[in-house]
Subunit: 339 residues, 2 copies
């Protein structure tokens, strides 16, 4: 082929998302020349498999980025805040999964199916949006382009994998304890997550919303480049391992039929319409898990308001909501000769 | 006391809700002179405990209602359709938990905290609303009275107990199977409910909504006696045993502050405000289970629309959503000399 290949680093490679970034690079056949796995000192000694080989995890240091062209970060906000600018200064294209730089006006916040034009050539930081935001804007983009969107009311059903490996273990341990008649332990979440749900993702803010809810407001506006779009979110953690679900209610600026929405979404990149209720066909998180597509179903008019539309949007929160979107940003930059 | 006491029958006494109706009659000290437990032939031979004694289950027959003054029905729509009119003709006040008569213009549909004035004296059928509707209207009534409500967008997180005993067992069995590495069995629900959720409660209708969603539209309008109130619902089953949660977004007709909403709800019958996010205080289904109150929290303004307000409403779906509301209807009729 003679296709260019890249020096890639994954920062936070031993976390749930970082680990998956490595798998997604392999699965999607991203042209990696050399892969470096970076993490904190306590992960040194671990290895991850990649294309049949074993790659050792190295300690993340200030000089880790020499020769690296693309750095995928998923090690939390504080690591990104410190090391993403260092990597960018060393010449990397940094694709950062944390929230550290998302609202920075100088940092593109990108979902490749939605706003690829926000990507620019050369080294620097690109932010990967919040998982809940990504799948919603992927599903709404074709409608936004066709008739405009005035307002979004969204309620989420978020999987524990969004919190990380230890939350996955917490749900599993709580369920096992309850099955055995034991008291479930709480270490990661403030409330029991097994057989429960709670409207608390991220810290509570002065205005009564959570950080997660305000991410959906602010990131949606930035990605659509539309400061006037109204968004009201309620974000809820549910006892599901993989896959966020969202009940999305919108008011469009002009009328659109359900048939036209289905048609637009059927042709949209990254979207799969799963909408045949008569045959019990609607998206569920178990079906979305392991896929990069955003599944959309339950598309129906909402007659309670002018130009109202309701739908149900499900995607794998650590794939399309995190790892896959990051890799797709790199793919898009490659396709556009921005790398 | 010399207080009058009543001949009471519970129809469907061996089901999840019927069984709980017996417990709620006892717990709330309803003045029962004599309690008859009625069910299908296959439950004959079973007994239920009541006030330290044991009451045998009798077969439901056309002549079961002789001498019965109050009959609480929870045996499904077809049993209600056949036997509720027979019981009413025999002189009973029938309080029916099925959906069979809810939209009948001659049948009151009552939540005691919301529309007690719909109750009338004498024998006849009174319908107990759908669980999801009850807790929503209890939470919204004080706001409706204060400033009016134009539109409601609601998304539910519904517990398996709403489907009945066998659904509770299905979730438990699926979770146990998965913990043991076995394949989960599906008998009650069309999709796996353990570690999953699906936007499918009741049959799908022509308009793309489910029966459960349209119950929330139509019953809310009937209870508020307001055919113009806009309601759009998405009803979702989640792997929770007891307690429905609802993300409720409303547009009021006039402005109202969060403080005033909290104040109104604090004084409202049947409501408990659980709304101190800074101290991790918000309603969750595990806390609502076993209680008759509707818990309301996460009260906040929704700046994306004029007079927008969002909140999170949780109640025990088989208590306030079914058994307790039925008993409270009887209590209210008693207090108003309608029995």
């Amino acid at each position: 082929m003679g296709e260019k290949s890249y020096q890639v680093a994954v920062v936070g490679a031993t976390g749930a998302v970082g680990n998956l970034m490595v798998r997604v690079l392999e699965e999607r056949g991203f042209p990696v020349k050399d892969l470096r796995l970076l993490a904190s000192f306590r992960s040194v000694g671990k290895t991850l498999s990649y294309k049949g080989g074993c790659i050792p995890v190295e300690e993340l240091k200030e000089d880790s980025f020499k020769g690296v062209e693309i750095a995928l970060f998923s090690a939390g906000g504080s690591v990104s805040k410190k090391f993403a600018p260092i990597a960018a200064a060393a010449g990397c294209v940094v694709i950062d999964n944390s929230s550290a730089f998302r609202m920075d006006p100088n940092v593109p916040l990108v979902v490749p199916e939605v706003n690829p034009d926000a990507l620019v050539k050369g080294p620097g930081i690109i932010a990967n949006p919040n998982c809940s935001t990504i799948q919603m804007v992927v599903a709404l983009k074709p409608i936004y382009d066709a008739v405009g969107i005035k307002r979004i009311v969204v309620t989420t059903f978020q999987a524990v994998s969004g919190t990380g490996k230890r939350a996955i273990e917490e749900l599993r341990n709580q369920v096992e304890a309850l099955v055995q008649g034991k008291e479930p332990k709480m270490e990661i979440y403030p409330r029991q997550i097994a057989f429960n749900c709670f409207p608390h993702i991220g810290a509570f803010l002065e205005n009564g919303y959570t950080e997660e809810e305000m991410k959906m407001v602010n990131e949606t506006r930035k990605i659509f480049n539309d400061p006037n779009i109204g968004v009201c979110a309620t974000t809820v953690r549910v006892p599901v391992y993989y896959g966020h679900s969202e009940a999305v209610n919108i008011e469009t600026k002009a009328p659109i039929s359900v048939e036209r929405v289905r048609e637009l979404l059927s042709q949209a990149p990254g979207v799969r319409v799963v909408d045949d209720p008569a045959n019990l066909c609607y998206p569920v998180p178990l079906d979305a898990a392991g896929k990069d597509e955003t599944l959309v179903g339950r598309i129906r008019l909402d007659p309670s308001v002018e130009n109202g539309l309701a739908m149900w949007v499900v995607a794998d929160n650590i794939r399309k909501g995190a790892a896959s979107n990051a890799v797709q940003i790199a793919e898009t930059m490659m396709a556009r000769n921005l790398l």
